[in-house]
Every structure is written in structure tokens, then in C-alpha cells.
Symmetry: C2
Subunit: 314 residues, 2 copies
Amino acid sequence: MATSAEVTASNPGSGEVPGTFDEGYKDGWFSELSSMWPGQALSLKVDKILHQTKSDFQDVCVFQNEAFGNVLVLDGVIQCTDRDEFSYQEMIANLPLCSLPYEPKKVLVIGGGDGGVTRELARHKSIEVIDQAEIDGEVPRTSKQFFPKMAVGFDDPRVNLRITDGLKFLEECAENTYDAIVVDSSDPVGPAEVLFQRPFFESMHRALKPGGVVSTQGESLWLHLELITEVAKMCKDVFVGGTVNYAYTTIPTYPSGQIGFMLCAKANDGEPFSFKESRRSPPEGLRYYDEDVHRAAFCLPKFAKEALRGHLTS
Amino acid sequence: MATSAEVTASNPGSGEVPGTFDEGYKDGWFSELSSMWPGQALSLKVDKILHQTKSDFQDVCVFQNEAFGNVLVLDGVIQCTDRDEFSYQEMIANLPLCSLPYEPKKVLVIGGGDGGVTRELARHKSIEVIDQAEIDGEVPRTSKQFFPKMAVGFDDPRVNLRITDGLKFLEECAENTYDAIVVDSSDPVGPAEVLFQRPFFESMHRALKPGGVVSTQGESLWLHLELITEVAKMCKDVFVGGTVNYAYTTIPTYPSGQIGFMLCAKANDGEPFSFKESRRSPPEGLRYYDEDVHRAAFCLPKFAKEALRGHLTS
């Protein structure tokens, strides 16, 4: 346990300094320390460090663990592991896509440099184009070498991977372009901070077709209910006349063992829309998501439902 | 991180030696190491150790943590914390009770020495008697001192707390006695090992009224799916003609961030019964459980649903 690592006491998303793998590495274990979850840390035994580098944007590390296989750590925070990544990737991709009352054709991924979300989107046969804007080229390079089962997503001929800033990409893209946008970001500390802010959501709203949907990494109900409530309020304001909801999934290697998704739909000539029911059959090959899991993902614990009351639509 | 603690590599429930708080305590942090979850550990910062003793049955420790408040550790495993205990207690008590098509009058708690389950049962006004068999008197004593919000359950005049072996208590109790039995046990290592075995479930079946229900601590889908499948098979065999199902809840301080419940109902003259829907209004004062959460708790991730297919009823 790297108690030597001084964690800055400041608010999430307030421009604090990100951590590193080395700060959490001691006596053969990595502990995920962060001021976003003070006083608690998931610790994983490091059987072998496979890769360690500083990219232009962040501290990158891959290590091997007996329970979870290969583990990707960016700026000292666990991003994905071989064993449980499917829960997150399947849910962040299929909750929005299977809610759509029509077959999506053109989709965008922001972040998601490991390729897992892209792999899940590529399972949908109706999709013709998968654009992707990942800020850090080191992440897809690392994934291709150490997470081939996620990076396989990049091999699909429909994928256009650009190494570029997601916000800039959106600002330059034509209005009414996408049926769905999936934002697979890290936490609002370091390079992903802008992805939790209003200008980014306004740009997504602009880039979506009417009736198009957005799904973003939405932090943890147990840890970040205030942040989630603030983001929900902002989304309801940006997606005026549209739909905003929140769902979650279980995943052992994210802080507190689960993570949520903020889901927004752009208004479509007053046509009613709800995220709560799956409208299309899920693609083949899934291990976490199905229609029942979709419906259950919106049933929030009572304390969360009460905190978010009035800030979600349907 | 207490890497100095050698964790015995053996199967859960195979009679291995339990751990201690001290084995996981190093540099001001407690890491929950166990061969039941090799290579991973939740680590909590120890602000202050409030209580430490060896009872006749186990290693007992209470410490203070900035995120979770007071934390109870038995044999080196986190049992409950001030901040998140309500999720587990509300779900293990209300999933069975609110499934009942009639008002329960007589209920039994096995284990549950912290008093949290008893508190939840006591919210049900129809209940006339709450018997409780806890093996270790040190646990209620500790709870009364350091977890008054859980121990408050013992103050209810309907509660008869006996410090005795749960299996022995059941073997001596009259047939067809209880409407519901809740088993709030630790893991199948140390004193709770027998509570995962067939003779114990047979004794519960005998002690239940026809149509009565059982809810037991059922480990984690992400970690112990094989153990869960074995217990489900055994339950289906013991509760022949009755109902067996499995539900889960999220809880940050249990391994992998969630825990499940094995639910069994005793056959009742062929009258159909299902756990999947809540049939009675939940009591006042809850923070996790409601009718929607009840229904969602049975929607297992696809990988778990497939592993348990054929071993659950409804």
C-alpha cells in the first residue's frame, strides 16, 4: 500500500494533479489511490509489469494479475482488465444502441482507446461507419500489444480511428451527423476533465441527429452522487425537449465495484423516447448485457433515485 | 499492503485457517486478503483502531475510516461499515419478507450478531416474534458499543437473542415454526462453514412453515459462481417442490463490490410461489430497497444467468 503517495485533497474535476502507477505500487501490489475515493483503494497483486511509459498525455502502465489478467492503468487509475471489461463495454455500448427505435448507421466513439467499446459497436450489423476520436495514440498502441481481445475492435473496416482531441473533433464535425455517440473516458481529472463539462455536451448535442443518443462514463452512485446530479442537471438543460437517464453496471475493478452511464437523447419533433426498455435484439456474443439486464440497470437504489429525482426524464 | 501475510491456497469452504486483522494491517491501511479472492483486496485507511480482541470463535476488530465510518472486521474479513451496511441488511431481510403473500408473524435470524438484520425485520409491524441465534456473544457486545445504529435492532421487545450455535438451535426447534429465516453469516471459512452445507439447509427446511422462506448470504457472482451453483443445486434438492432463486445487491465494502442472496421457499400444497416480485409494501425508513430494486435484483448478468440455468426455479 503506497501510503507514501500524498493524495491531493481537492474536488474531482477541479484541475487537480493526476497520479501515477508508481505512487500506488509497493511490495508487489498496486493500490488505486485517488482523492476521488479517499480512504479506500482497490489493491491488485502485480505478478509482472508488462509495460510502463509516459505518453504526451498520461502515465501508462500494464501489469499482470492472477485474478484479472492484464490490467491497464492510466495516471494511476485502473481503466480495464481482461476479466471484467466486458461488463462495462457491453453496457456503455448497448444501453444506448438497443434503446433506439431504428437501426443505427453512423456512430462516434470519444476516447475508448483500448478498443473495447469499438468492438461492441462493431457487433451491430446495421452500423456503416464508426468514427473514433482518441486523444492519446499510446493507448491504442498499448491495447494492440497487451489487450488483443479489446483492440480487435480496431480491425473492423468500418472504423476510422483518429488520434485527436474529442472536443475539437466534435466542434469541427457537421451538425446532425450521428445516430449515437459513446464517450468512454477516464475520470474528470487530467485529460478527460473537459468531457464532463457543458461545452462538450453542447457539441455532442449539435453533432447528433434528431432522436440520436449519447452514452457517457458516468462515475459511481456510491461515490459521486453529487457530481452525477450536477451532470444530470446540465444534460437536462442541454438536451432540452429530449431525454436524460442514468443506468449502472457491476464491475469489480472500478471503484466501489460498479459504474454508471449518463444517457441523453436529442429531441425528435416531440416523438416520445425512453431509454428504459430495450427495443432491438442485442447482437450475438454478449456475456453481460441482455434485455432483462437493460431494464434492471435503470432501477437505482432508493437513495440514488431520491437524489436524482427531478433531474432525469425517462 | 500486508504482503507479509501468507494466504493459504485452498478452496473456500474446505476448512482452511481464517485470517486476522493484523495480517492485513500495514502502514496505516487494512487490506482484506483472503484465498477466497486471491490477488485482489479492498484496502481501507485505518484512522484509529477502536477495539481489538479474540473471542472464543474469531478475531474481532473495529476501526474508523474517513469514507465508511466504523468498520467491523471478523477473522480479517470486513463484515459491515456504517456507510454501506443498509444495502445488505435491507436486501437480505426485505427480499424474502416482501415476497410473502401473507403477513409474517414469526421469524428467525441465524448469525447477524451486529443487529442490522434484526433492525430491518423489526420494521415489519406484523412480526410478533424475532428469534435470533448468534454463536459469538462478542459480536453483539461489540456492535452495541461501536455500531449503535445496527445494534438498535436488539432493543425491540419482540427480539429473543440467544448466544448459541445456529445449527443446534434449528435442530432443537419444533417443525413448521417460522414464516421466514434469514441467515446473515460470514464466509464459508471458520465458524460459518457449516451454514453453507446441506444439513443446515435441511434443518431450516424442517423449521419453516409450509410456504415459509429462507434468505442466506450468498457470496459474489463475480468471484464465487461455482460455489453459488453448488449451493443452488443443493437447495433445489432440499426444497423439493418449493422455490429457489438468487438475487444480488451492490455494496462497496464487500469483495468485488456486490453480494448475493440465496432464496428458498418451502413447498405449500402445490400453491405457486415466486420471489421475483414484491407482494407487500416495504416498511418505512428504507434507503436501498423498494419494489423496483426488488425486481431488478433478480436480473443477473448474462454469464451468471447461463451458469445457474436449470438450478433456479422462479
